[in-house]
Symmetry: C2
Subunit: 273 residues, 2 copies
């Protein structure tokens, strides 16, 4: 999906969770994680002993322009050093561990983190190396485990995907976007009166065309037709469009067209007589 608008203010969330990648292997994966972080406004990347060192040219292209995150990234020798300033740390794991530690969903994790951040605390998320995942010693340093619900027979999730999911859930907890809305752009929703005129027009033409054959079905058919168009939540402009469509159908073809032809034929016949 493409849709960056550089004129819009950036929703950078300085206090968002630090993303801590432990011994990441491929620069490409770091770059993709960076892109996903910044898609959701996160900028605090911390790398613990990245295999190929840092900076890493291979991370630049996959980051797709999220240079602010690449430039700010910090490197640490150990997990303990990387998290030293954080009050709450969540360890991402896919497989269960033999550990007595609270396990939360990504959604719950982000709700908790948002609560902590709102009271001035610093939080972070630990991600293990691509293949092996986090070591138990890293998990033991964490407040709790966050586990993405996955297909148990195919639970090997890509590192950047995991970073993206958590970043997405974090962004959601601070988002005021409604679950559902219908943009009306520069148009105005039609009034009930305008809609009524559409119904009158349509029903008049349908009556002319002999659509309402059986009287006992007429009220049912009218109701069905009205439901179709009330459900569409038409704008004023769309009412005009629909009225044009009805007019065209009624006069340009079908019964109207036949009637017109018949009238012409009749006139021609009268003239000839």
């Amino acid at each position: 999906m493409a849709g960056t608008d550089h004129k819009k203010p950036s929703k950078i969330q300085e206090d968002g969770p630090a993303i801590i990648l432990i011994v990441p292997q491929l620069g490409e994966n770091i770059g993709k994680a960076v892109r996903a972080m910044y898609n959701f406004g996160l900028t605090d990347l911390r790398l613990v002993a990245p295999r190929d060192g840092w900076p890493n040219e291979a991370a630049v292209a996959p980051a797709a322009g999220a240079d602010i995150v690449l430039d700010k990234a910090r490197v640490f020798d150990t997990t303990a050093e990387a998290i030293a300033d954080l009050e709450y740390v969540y360890a991402t794991t896919a497989r269960p561990r033999d550990m007595i530690k609270e396990v939360v969903t990504p959604k719950r994790c982000c709700e908790l983190m948002r609560g902590f951040v709102n009271t001035g605390k610093k939080v972070g998320l630990l991600f293990g190396p691509e293949k092996a995942g986090l070591k138990n010693d890293d998990i033991a340093l964490s407040t709790a485990i966050v586990s993405v619900p996955l297909n148990p027979s195919f639970a090997s999730i890509n590192l950047a995907q995991a970073v993206g999911l958590l970043s997405y859930e974090w962004f959601q907890t601070g988002s005021d976007i409604p679950d559902s809305f219908t943009p009306t752009q520069d148009t105005s929703p039609a009034t009930a009166g305008e809609l009524q005129k559409l119904f009158d027009h349509m029903e008049e033409e349908l009556k002319e065309a002999g659509y309402f054959r059986a009287d006992q079905r007429r009220s049912l058919m009218r109701r069905n037709l009205r439901n179709i168009f009330t459900r569409s939540e038409l704008t004023r402009e769309e009412i005009s469009t629909m009225r044009g469509v009805i007019k065209a159908l009624a006069t340009g073809g079908g019964a109207g067209w036949i009637a017109e032809k018949a009238e012409i034929a009749l006139k021609a016949k009268k003239k000839a007589e």
Copy 2:
């Protein structure tokens, strides 16, 4: 994160949404999308005019073993053909369109789709090409728009990430995983009586060590200590561990160690006399 357990039953959701990629460019991206789909149990992949044809060798390695999805993938010439059997189709877009069409969040979209699937309907999700996103003509074929809330100044989300997010939200709507739980493995939570014995042991040793100096602070300090350990929700085994720790601290060093040394010195002195 690594964690596939092939012994676990696969949560394949035959009725889950079809993932429809319109004119996808890179085989690698198709493969990564396939991996993300199958992470969340989705298997119905439909490709509309993939640029490099199909099958595509470049998709195999990034799919990371989700062969069931690759093998079942179907190719169509047009979007209309790809969605012909579906009752509800949601178009993913990041940027707003000049269209009067309902816009829903991924979460809401998946709740709606789950409801439709539960009543026997077929549903699908449209994704546009990597750079350009969906064309308005494809969106016009859709029931509604689903838009991922994103950083507005960096809204270019990777195709596989977008597929992953929607697949994740779909899986969530069918997941019975609790928001939070603490596995106790093969251990047993301690009873209040066992915990009380720990408190008695600890407080007795602390009293001996002169920890409760001021009588007026004693009850406060006891309460604080008790809160630390009740909050930890200790198991029976951890109670044993803690009692061992207290014993070691009390006798192996500090006051206990000094007392022991003093006793030895006293005995030696008595012997010498």
